[in-house]
């Protein structure tokens, strides 16, 4: 064993520079693509070809980029939902259910109908957004109260409530609101659709076929709101304090039980808004499988973004692109493969933030070897 160098791992004693977390995250995404390329090459595909195809399918044109952003939109909102809860170390695994309940509540506005069916969009859309948030918040409220009052583990309750929400939705679309026996409601009237860029194609021909809808603005606004709440508001300070040290928070006079409920509701509301944005902006009706697991991907998004609201936007775009890419290439597993590599790489890159890694050469190296021998 005569390697010309040895690797020494040393715990970091100082804070890492500010740019370091961002750099390691970007670096690990790049690394993930390199590893994926290796796998592609091993199965006999030209990775350069696959990647350039991916790039064209996701960012190659305005239409392609719009598709990517449409997929990124629910991820942004759900990722923010998880970010808010995770900041307080509340493990809300129920964004999926809150998403469905948001979609269901928003649908009530047009399906019951709660407002006259001929209301203008300026009335209907805010009402649906509000109801979507209420629906998600209600679905966050129950686990929140159970946790705050009785100490029930929120991971279990939020996870279980996902299935309840999905089945609840199914009941309505299979039985009550079924459109001619299909598992979906009739298509909503146009006045309840989120405006899309393609709606303006007549005046701006360049927008023709661009399906990007107003939901993406919801996502960006939500990121700003989440950032402001966390960094600037008194409530955000309380959330950060509880997240870091609940005992100190209690000692500082903060009502932890109340905050658990409120944060679960806030988190649920964001996921609910994602549900609303999806039915009002993309599918235009309530139906089965409106979410291909956005609620769970949101957990990953929040982690990869290191719970930074603006990071959530960037990571969501990457994951949105992977979803679009997965739709465009065969086998579609390739996109998931990359997703997996990204996850592993980013999580392992944390080591670099906590440890320094040196390559020891020359005299130092021989000394070290001599000692251990």
């Amino acid at each position: 064993m005569a390697l010309p160098f040895s690797v020494a791992v040393e715990k970091r004693t100082e804070d890492v520079p500010r740019w370091m977390p961002a750099l390691t995250s970007v670096g690990s995404v790049v690394l993930a693509f390199v590893f994926s390329a290796l796998v592609l090459w091993l199965i006999g595909v030209n990775p350069v070809q696959v990647y350039s195809f991916f790039l064209r399918a996701t960012f190659g044109s305005w239409a392609a980029f719009s598709d990517t952003m449409v997929k990124a939109t629910p991820l942004i909102l759900v990722g923010l939902a998880c970010t808010v809860a995770f900041k307080m170390k509340l493990w809300n695994i129920g964004a999926e259910g809150q998403f469905y309940m948001g979609a269901f509540f928003a649908s009530l506005v047009v399906l019951v109908p709660l407002l006259p069916t001929n209301s203008p969009p300026a009335v209907l859309i805010p009402a649906m957004a509000l109801m979507g948030m209420v629906g998600g918040a209600v679905w966050g409220f129950f686990p929140g109260v159970l946790k705050a009052r009785f100490g029930v583990n929120e991971i279990i309750t939020t996870l279980m409530l996902n299935y309840v929400a999905i089945l609840w939705n199914n009941f309505w679309i299979f039985d009550r609101w079924s459109d001619a026996g299909f598992q979906m409601t009739p298509t909503f009237e146009r006045n309840s659709w989120l405006p899309r860029l393609s709606d303006y194609a007549r005046t701006y021909p360049a927008f023709s076929g661009i399906t990007l809808h107003l939901g993406v603005i919801f996502g960006i606004l939500a990121a700003i709101v989440v950032w402001w709440v966390m960094q600037r508001s008194r409530w955000g300070y309380e959330i950060r304090l509880i997240g870091d040290n609940p005992q100190a928070a209690r000692y500082a006079g903060i009502n932890i039980a109340r905050n658990i409920v409120l944060v679960m509701m806030f988190s649920g509301a964001l996921a609910g808004l994602a549900g609303m944005s999806e039915i009002s902006g993309v599918v235009h009706r309530l139906q089965e499988r409106i979410s291909p697991g956005y609620g769970f991907t949101g957990i990953i998004v929040a982690w990869l973004a290191k719970l930074n609201p603006f990071g959530v936007i960037l990571v969501s775009i990457l994951f949105g692109a992977l979803i679009v890419a997965g739709r465009e290439v065969q086998p579609s597993g390739i996109a998931q493969l990359i997703q997996g590599f990204v996850l592993f790489a980013v999580i392992s890159s944390d080591v670099l933030l906590r440890y320094k890694i040196h390559i020891v050469r020359g005299a130092d190296h021989t000394a070290a070897v001599g000692e251990s021998a």
Partner: protein
């Protein structure tokens, strides 16, 4: 011994952390068979130096020799291979495993089959050699803190340590256990081991050390002085860099109105056993009332009941006429109760938040830091900077995370936060525990200043000396009840000692009276 060979020589060690020179060309030598005390205030660089010796940090410059050979440690494993063992202050033991299993943890042997009896015999042999008694088959959770420390020592000996570093080993021990530890250390050096003893309790250093090295702000202020003939005062001066007033001066002050009134308080501890059983006490403005007692007799629960952190089962608490019984912690804060909690890391501060975020914990709801629903960052920062300067908190900036602060500086952050609002009542629990002389003095002075300014202070401490110097009255607690209250200037240590073990003051006085009559 003074001519025995060097076990360790560290020369010109430099360690740089961002913004601080933690070790500035530090020299340190340890002779074979000696106990060498390493003294210094919190943050003086003692732990850093020892982390270099145990392979955790790599020095930016300097040479380390072990038994005359230059060594180069890349990891703690390298240091262990050279016979250097660290007895950590916070034990690194697995509670559900046995003593022997803990000792074997992390070793290459046994490789596959445990064959515990064989290793238990090995552990037993080491125990006999050094007189470290502890049952090798006992589980860690079953044994006392003193025994757990012996397991830590055994761990290093099992790995063949010749140089043992004891990092503030007495901080967690009861007085009896301290005597046993000192005996153990003597036995170890008698068998040729060498010991580095880190402490800032001067009387312990006086009792065990052969030589001392003192560090201040990363520099050596005294290198390898023989201990014989040094006075405590001299050592304190070397540590702090100025004369330390051991006898704190307390101005007389007539107490004012009753501020804290606790009557017939009942509460249980975390295990559900009764902790307070009809506890009553009054503390007046401008008065310090000390609570003396052996740990675990209801002191912590008393402080928690007053500050709203614990539910009481009976009795009442009021502060300045405001009823606080079973009110949330916020009610106590708003009533002007400041609380210096017993556990500064887990209760008193938030480790991953900045100094600024830590000092606004109690005032973020009010102007000027709290501004409607937002927090005024600018004011918060100015406020924090102001406190940092006033209370002499040593840190690179107010953006420094609380967990990076030394114990003394963290305690100053807590003290600054708690007393700047001019509280009516200060509940201080062990405010100086584990701090160095300089910090202890600063904290005590601040408490006395608050007394002069008219705060009522309830001081819980296990240091009798501190209680008697600072307090106006000393109340002794035993089993959740008051055994007696005495004026501090008439306090008799023996009397207090007897009350601490459960004799009531009346009973004492009575027996004294009968003895006098007969």
């Amino acid at each position: 011994m003074s001519d025995s060979p060097y076990a360790v020589e560290m020369s010109d060690i430099v360690i740089r952390f961002p913004g601080v020179l933690a070790n500035d060309r530090v020299n340190f030598t340890l002779r074979k068979g000696e106990i060498h005390a390493l003294l210094g205030e919190n943050g003086a660089g003692k732990s850093t130096l020892m982390n270099v010796l145990s392979g955790l940090y790599k020095p930016n410059a300097g040479v380390i020799k072990v038994a005359g050979q230059v060594v180069n440690f890349n990891s703690p494993r390298d240091a262990i291979a050279q016979g250097i063992g660290m007895v950590h202050q916070h034990f690194m033991l697995v509670p559900t495993q046995t003593v022997t299993e803990n000792i074997l943890l992390g070793l290459k042997e046994p490789r596959f089959l445990m064959n515990l009896p064989r290793y238990e015999r090995k552990v037993q042999a080491i125990q006999e050699q050094f007189g470290l008694r502890v049952d090798p088959k006992a589980k860690i959770w079953q044994i006392s803190v003193g025994e757990q420390q012996r397991v830590e020592i055994l761990k290093t000996l099992y790995r063949g340590a010749n140089v043992l570093i004891f990092d503030e080993p007495t901080a967690v021990l009861a007085p009896q256990e301290i005597y046993e530890l000192i005996a153990t250390m003597r036995a170890l050096v008698a068998q040729g081991k060498s010991i580095i003893f880190i402490s800032h309790k001067l009387h312990e250093v006086e009792a065990v050390a052969d030589r001392i090295t003192v560090l201040r702000k990363g520099r050596v202020t005294a290198e390898g002085l023989p201990m014989a003939g040094r006075t405590k005062r001299e050592l304190a001066q070397l540590m702090v860099g100025r004369d330390v007033i051991f006898a704190i001066k307390k101005e007389p002050r007539p107490p004012g109105e009753v501020v804290l009134e606790v009557s017939n308080l009942q509460a249980t501890n975390n295990k559900g056993a009764p902790a307070l059983q009809g506890f009553s006490l009054k503390v007046r403005a401008g008065e310090i009332v000390g609570i003396a007692g052996i740990a675990g007799n209801g002191q912590s629960e008393l402080a928690e009941c007053i500050t709203g952190l614990r539910v009481c089962d009976g009795g009442t608490v009021s502060v300045d006429g405001v009823e606080l019984t079973n009110q949330p912690p916020l009610a106590a804060i708003l009533a002007g109760v400041a609380h210096i909690p017993e556990d500064r890391n887990r209760v008193g501060s938030s480790p991953n938040l900045t100094i600024t975020d830590n000092v606004i914990m109690k005032c973020y709801r009010r102007d000027p830091v709290g501004n409607g629903i937002t927090i005024d960052d600018h004011h918060a920062e100015v406020y924090a900077r102001d406190l940092k300067q006033t209370y002499d908190i040593l840190a690179p900036s107010v953006q420094t995370l609380a967990r990076k602060l030394s114990g003394g500086n963290l305690q100053k952050v807590i003290l600054a936060r708690e007393i700047t609002a001019n509280p009516k009542l200060i509940v201080a629990v062990q405010p100086t525990r584990g701090l160095d002389v300089g910090a202890v003095e600063a904290i005590q002075q601040h408490l006395l200043l608050q007394r002069m300014m008219g705060a009522a202070i309830l001081l819980v401490s296990e240091e009798l000396e501190e209680l008697i110097t600072l307090s106006d009255r000393v109340a002794v607690i035993f089993d959740g009840q008051i055994m007696g209250v005495v004026a501090a200037e008439q306090a008799d240590i023996n009397e207090i000692g007897l009350m601490m073990t459960g004799t009531r003051l009346e009973a004492l006085r009575q027996s004294a009276a009968t003895a006098h009559h007969s």
